[in-house]
């Protein structure tokens, strides 16, 4: 496997990042005069089995106003606000009967317009059974150096790019037309909701440097904006494989790159919690230090926006027949503040018993305030938050449909 030899500029923490104090946003894009008029606030973008909901928080994050559903009745996998312009929302959705698409709003969901060219595979040659996108699943804005560039991951696992803010999409041939794509991610290797490409990570220092995660395929890296790819799975166990550490075939559930220390990658995998510090290529299973009775299986993983050593997970039961609910019916978040060497349970406010749900891979997020606000949505339609980095949790919405995604965005 070729080694990367790309020199990266160091990312310097902001002054506010070095010294977090009272609850306040640490990011902002407006001029000082504009900021003085309006206080930044958090909006939660919630994708569910039956549409999207937007929860507007007040400046202190103590009250929330829910509005929606948007795209009512549609399967909404992901809703993301463009952090570069602070106004463009993209929504990955499909209706039960209809094909998948991407919808766009520039007025916080008051109106939506469908992409003029949604993600789609190229037509196959005559006689060949071609692939068709079944779900648009994951949305990722590129780095700040590429305004209007977005990526989308789909099921079956494919990668698409838009250069006009999500209006039109083209497949990335280096992945979609790659003859190894179906070797790495066999189409018959279906996860319960279909094999998917998710966790599209763009190196904030170098927008040509990409990572993706594929359920049933593993982690992959490109250093040429997706023209070529190589597996990045050393040290990661693979399920349903006689060889414990194959080159590919792993099942990352969720991957994350730290924005201030982009050489640090994390993943919550089907087979544990892993960390990788580049340029190394071997992942370390840091989840082995989780309590044995809880294990280190789960879907999401969330990073502290300023402290690269702090991370949160939401364990689920991956024993016997894989119930995929909170272990023993006792939901809890686990936090590590030392890069995975040790973990602490954070359950204050959460049900102490009979909490038979879990949190999907895109349904746990963090805001950019200090202290960090954390938000997760459950398969049972509950939305929970902590305004103090997990010390205390409270429910802020219930009776929603099955929640697929929760994104905490800041509105200036």
């Amino acid at each position: 496997m070729p080694k990367r030899n790309v020199k990266k500029k160091p990312v310097v923490q902001s002054r506010s990042a070095r010294k977090p104090a009272r609850a306040k946003p640490v990011k902002g894009t407006l001029a000082k005069s504009a900021r003085a008029k309006r206080q930044p606030r958090v909006v939660l973008l919630v994708g569910t089995r039956k549409g999207a909901f937007i929860l507007h928080g007040n400046a202190s994050r103590t009250s929330w106003r829910s509005e929606g559903p948007h795209r009512f009745g549609e399967i909404v996998n992901h809703v993301v606000l463009d952090p570069r312009d602070g106004r463009t929302l993209l929504c990955a959705a499909r209706a039960g009967h209809l094909g998948p698409s991407i919808f766009r709003s520039t007025d916080l969901g008051k109106t939506w317009k469908e992409a003029s060219v949604p993600p789609a595979f190229k037509p196959a040659p005559p006689g060949v059974v071609g692939d068709a996108v079944q779900h648009t699943f994951f949305l990722a804005p590129s780095s700040a150096s590429e305004p209007n560039v977005w990526y989308a991951g789909t099921s079956p696992p494919a990668l698409f790019r838009s250069e006009d803010g999500g209006v039109s999409w083209r497949g990335i041939d280096g992945w979609n037309e790659n003859p190894l794509r179906k070797v790495w991610c066999p189409p018959e290797d279906q996860t319960p909701d279909g094999s998917i490409l998710h966790s599209i990570l763009v190196d904030p220092r170098d927008s040509t440097h990409l990572y993706v995660g594929c359920s049933g395929g593993g982690s992959f890296e490109s250093t040429d904006r997706g023209a070529s790819w190589r597996p990045l799975n050393q040290g990661v166990e693979a399920p349903a494989n006689p060889e414990p550490f194959p080159e590919y075939g792993q099942d990352p559930h969720c991957m994350a790159i730290h924005p201030l220390q982009p050489d640090r990658l994390w993943q919550q995998n089907h087979c544990g919690i892993y960390r990788l510090d580049r340029p190394a290529t071997r992942w370390e299973r840091v989840g082995k230090s989780m309590p044995a009775a809880v294990g280190d299986i789960g879907f999401p993983i969330v990073l502290h926006p300023r402290d690269p050593d702090t991370v949160w997970v939401f364990p689920m039961d991956g024993t016997t027949v894989w119930p995929r609910v909170s272990p023993d019916g006792k939901p809890a978040v686990y936090r590590s503040r030392d890069a995975g060497k040790s973990w602490e349970r954070q359950q204050s406010g959460l049900p102490r018993a009979n909490g038979w749900y879990t949190v999907k891979r895109q349904a746990f997020g963090a805001d950019a305030f200090a202290p960090v606000g954390l938000y997760f949505g459950t398969t049972g339609g509950e939305l929970w938050m902590s305004a103090n980095e997990g010390k205390r949790w409270r429910q802020i919405a219930a009776h929603l449909p099955h929640i697929y995604s929760v994104v905490a965005a800041t509105l200036d």
Binding site: A95, G96, H97, L98, G99, S101, E114, S116, P118, A120, F121, K122, P123, A124, V129, G130, D131, A132, V133
Partner: protein, 86 residues
């Protein structure tokens, strides 16, 4: 000819349950619908030209599985959405 539009697709037709479209085949008719209501075809037909699994096209109440099915101006086309689960 007259084309009946199911409720999931009426966001494209401005809420209209029936529209007029032209075409010597189903494929041409869908192309005409797409020209009038951009985006509607892809929700019914995938990028490989296959009718999506929960879409049914009927011509004069007869199920049509081939987009090459010839049409006459007097035909009536119904687009229906088959069951897709909860």
């Amino acid at each position: 000819m007259r084309v009946a539009i199911p409720s999931p697709l009426r966001s494209y037709t401005g809420g209209r349950e029936q529209v007029q479209a032209r075409g010597a085949t189903l494929a041409e008719l869908l192309g005409d619908l797409e020209a009038a209501f951009p985006g509607i075809r892809f929700r019914m037909i995938d990028e490989q030209g296959r009718i999506r699994v929960h879409i049914r096209l009927f011509v004069n109440a007869e199920l049509a599985r081939d987009l090459g099915r010839a049409l006459d101006e007097r035909d009536e086309v119904q687009i229906l959405c088959a069951l897709s689960g909860g």
